[in-house]
């Protein structure tokens, strides 16, 4: 694991059309990479895991990616 691997993972997440995620942060830790951020569906999180496993089989990584909530707002912002 080095800077180059970190950069390759970051680019793969954006450039692979099955993923196309620019909003995932790749952080190096003692245990390997940690992927953080939010995506629009559980399927997209699964696709990220699949991609990193396939393209970087030697890289240990943890996933801390949530699915963005899509509920109606409970209040408006008053712009007085």
């Amino acid at each position: 694991m080095n800077d180059y691997t970190e950069a390759e993972v970051q680019r793969a997440l954006a450039e692979d059309l099955g993923v196309a995620e620019q909003g995932i942060t790749v952080v190096r830790s003692d245990a390997g990479l940690v992927l953080c951020g939010e995506v629009e569906s559980p399927h997209r999180r699964d696709e990220i895991v699949r991609l990193v496993h396939e393209r970087f089989p030697a890289v240990a990584f943890a996933v801390d990616i949530g699915v963005t909530r899509a509920g109606a707002p409970t209040e408006a912002e008053e712009l007085a």
């Binding site: 059309l17 196309a20 620019q22 909003g23 942060t25 951020g37 939010e38 629009e40 569906s41 399927h43 997209r44 963005t68 909530r69 899509a70 509920g71 109606a72 707002p73 209040e75 408006a76 912002e77 008053e78 712009l79 007085a80």
Partner: protein, 248 residues
């Protein structure tokens, strides 16, 4: 009062269809118009745009959008635009639209925008052709946004972009990528007209609130930032000029 709903970066594809719809059914009771601040699709295919049309079409309020960088990725912009406009969604790029809300004319001017950075740390139109083209592209779209805002004949003006016009709403993003997230030129364009509110997306790790140097309120409505289907901004009467008296 004008009630403006807004969200950006929804990145719709088949796997997201229906996720926003329950909240969107409530929207007409909460807002008079919905603004979509770009990155409507996952990577800019016509098929994804049709999913956007399904999700955000037929809401019962006007829907006004700009495209984002993701919407350009597959070079299918004409198909993307056709799918959106066929669903009644107004897509702006250097132009504007006016919506009548109970006799008050809301004007929205929009562009996708582009990068370049912010005062003191911005790119210059200097050096290699690629660098000059990058900075020039932002200058051109910012100029179009400014002109569209100034030319609007309305009671209240709102600017809609994908890229950020100020660094305030990027707080949380790595400083190193600010030049790819927005440009001060967009802020300058917004400040060139009496704009009541500026709305943008693009910065998923940014923050919600900021102001242009001229004092215009800026809101980052990227979906991962607002963490709800849309935000609603109520523009109080002081932002809304009374309708001009008609001639006698």
């Amino acid at each position: 009062m004008i009630r403006i709903a807004a969200v950006g970066d929804v990145h719709i594809d088949r796997d997201v269809l229906g996720r926003f719809r329950p909240a969107l059914e409530e929207l007409p009771g909460q807002a008079d118009v919905l603004l979509l601040a770009g990155d409507l699709t996952r990577h800019g295919t016509e098929a994804e745009a049709k999913c956007v049309a399904t999700e955000f079409g037929g809401l019962g309020v006007p829907v006004i959008a700009v495209l984002g960088n993701h919407d350009h990725h597959c070079d299918e912009v004409p198909g993307v635009l056709a799918a959106l406009t066929d669903a009644g969604i107004t897509v702006l790029e250097g132009d504007s639209t006016v919506v009548d809300i109970d006799g008050v004319r809301l004007g929205v001017a929009g562009v996708k925008g582009f990068g370049g950075g912010f005062a003191g740390r911005c790119a210059s139109e200097f050096g290699e052709p690629e660098m000059k083209a990058f900075v020039r592209a932002t200058g051109v779209v910012a100029e179009r946004l400014g002109r569209a805002l100034r030319d609007l004949d309305c009671d209240v003006r709102v600017a809609l972009t994908h890229y950020a016009p100020v660094p305030d709403t990027l707080a949380g993003e790595p400083l190193e990528i600010y030049p790819f997230l927005g440009s001060y030129l967009l802020g300058q364009a917004i400040d060139s007209a009496p704009t009541a509110l500026a709305v943008h997306g693009h910065a998923h790790h940014g923050s919600e609130r900021g102001r242009t140097p001229g004092g215009v309120r800026v809101r980052n409505v990227a979906h991962p930032v607002i963490k709800q289907a849309y935000s609603v901004f109520n523009l109080a009467p002081e932002h809304v000029s009374p309708p001009a008296p008609t001639g006698i």
